[in-house]
């Protein structure tokens, strides 16, 4: 107790000093901590902030021989070109649609899965389900995408199975209307098990007395889920949601470029794939930079908003 008291005193005293003096003291006292984090800061400066400064390329007409800073300014030319592009609306729409559908289905799926698993009483069966469903997470994207391509051909297993139910046997990746389902469902296939781990561990940390109390109150299983289980894992859900929301505009372009083709650009071409094609295939470096920057800004705004709402509603926040 005495120790705690002295620490409090110390803190009080600190607050009465000026900022400079407090900082000085802090640095002297915790210099080793700051030394420890130095390599990480170096990393962030060298690989993140230094690159970030390069985003100014979006406002330039980048000429390699002159470097980013030496190239002539272009103002907002590239942004205007993008907003005026024939494809602007489609890119924005696809990006948002794919994200939102992923969020709406892909986000709750592991939660539901965890809840279902949680209801399994046979531990051996539960363990088996877990072991097997975690597995696809460890299969690389390249392999998963080639699996998808093989299975969704008209002669592929999935299409042939669907055909038994009267479904037209077409190669799914040649029809734009099937792209989003294929993308989202394959994502769920790959990550549902792994994604549920987090919620399972949160579930296991719920105090059993809460359940006992609920049973005494006469709550059935469904009511227990509603009133004990869900509230018990809500903070996990919220943090995961914020993190997820932060990547709303970052639709996984690696997966899309491994899957799409020009016949289905209508639903599959997103901002990041567009940036990739412009920058790497068409030499339009500054234009590509402008589109990428636009994407980042929108993304950042979304995170800030979600974080704010969450802080207000649930007092959980990222920073």
């Amino acid at each position: 107790m005495a120790i705690e008291g002295s620490i409090k005193n110390l803190q009080l005293k600190k607050h009465s000093d000026s900022f400079g003096i407090r900082l000085h003291k802090d640095l002297r006292k915790n210099y080793d901590a700051y030394l420890l984090i130095l390599p990480a800061l170096l990393f962030y400066i060298l690989f993140c902030y230094k690159t970030m400064a390069g985003a100014v390329i979006a406002f330039k007409d980048y000429i390699p021989a002159k470097g980013i800073w030496g190239s002539p300014w272009a103002g907002l030319k590239h942004f205007e070109a993008f907003f005026g592009s024939y494809y602007f609306q489609r890119l924005l729409r696809n990006t948002v649609v794919i994200s939102l559908v992923s969020l709406a289905i892909g986000f709750p799926a592991p939660i539901v899965f965890a809840l279902l698993l949680n209801e399994v009483r046979n531990l051996k069966f539960k363990r088996t389900v877990q072991t097997i469903t975690y597995m696809p997470h460890f299969i690389s994207l390249v392999v998963v995408c080639s699996l998808i391509r093989i299975f969704t051909m008209d002669t592929g297993v999935i299409v042939q199975l669907l055909a038994l139910f009267g479904f037209e046997p077409v190669s799914l990746l040649t029809k734009s209307r099937y792209f989003v389902p294929v993308y989202v469902l394959s994502d769920i296939w790959q990550h549902i098990g792994w994604g549920s781990i987090l919620y399972l561990s949160a579930l296991s940390s719920i105090d059993p007395t809460h359940y006992e109390a609920a049973v005494i109150d006469g709550a059935g299983r469904w009511k227990q889920t509603l009133h004990v289980t869900l509230p018990g894992i809500s903070s996990t859900i919220i943090i995961m949601f914020i993190l997820r929301a932060g990547s709303i505009m970052n639709v996984g372009f690696e997966k899309i470029i491994l899957l799409y083709n020009e016949g289905i650009y209508e639903t599959s071409d997103v901002i990041s794939t567009f940036v990739y094609r412009k920058g790497l295939e068409q030499f339009q470096w500054s234009y590509s930079g402008a589109v990428g920057l636009f994407n980042s800004i929108i993304n950042f705004i979304i995170v800030v908003i979600v974080n704010k709402i969450s802080r207000r509603v649930s007092e959980t926040s990222l920073w």
């Binding site: 990480a40 390069g54 390329i57 299975f151 903070s235 491994l258 980042s296």
Partner: protein, 292 residues
Amino acid sequence: MRQSIGERVFSLFNTIFLSVMILITIYPLYFCLIASFSDPIELSMNPGAILLPFTPFTLSAYSKVINHSLFVSGFRNTIYVVVVGTLINMALTIISAYVLSRKGLMLNRVLTFFIIFTMYFSGGLIPGYLNVRSLGMINSLWALILPGAISTYNLIIMRTAFKGVPDALSESAQIDGARHFTVMSRILIPVCLPTIAVLVLYYAVGHWNAWFGASIYLQDATKHPIQLVMRNILISANASEMIGDIGGEDKARYVELIKYALIIVSTVPVLVLYPFLQKYFVKGVMVGSVKE
């Protein structure tokens, strides 16, 4: 505990549903396995689901995969990146997460924002490339390791885990005069081992699966990691060949089988390691990530 009829029905359906999940998860891999040594012509003539391989069996696909020079170098490069990369990842992540989890440090709020900000803004493809280039890492495996030396996402998970350790533990040590490094290594790391195990897995799997960075930073095919080698074989539609075919005449016939064999050969190492790691998962991912 007695169960109502509704609950029993639910249990039944739940069991059926989860069993179907198992089937859906396993079948694609099983399909690749049996397809990889089936007769190529029979296989292409019989679309749809198959349960048994077609005779005559052939192991040609596997011998072609294993004898492919890039395949061996690809595996070697990937293992190098996974091991060295993950070591660096963990060292940096643990140390900086520790510092950020301390309460007494005045600069922590600033530092945290400084770091989290990078999750949402990046310079983009070209500036990123120019930066790696200016650091002299083009065509070097370091280009696959250093630019991603810390995943901010994982850093947050680690920080949260450290924060979840009761203050009393570390404070008492500090009172005894221990410096930060000692507190971290003697007290916090042992307590948070499960989280650390999970992060090792996150990072290692990330390195194992990465191909895009390699496709832009590495010029020599002999430096390519296995995933890039596979992408170039599995998913490429370039018809640039004018005369002659890549990999000898016989290969063309077995090309479908080679795809399956590649999938199997490249996936098996992970799946073999997997049961050994599995015990850490549930306990580990904890992730008290959870409490702020």
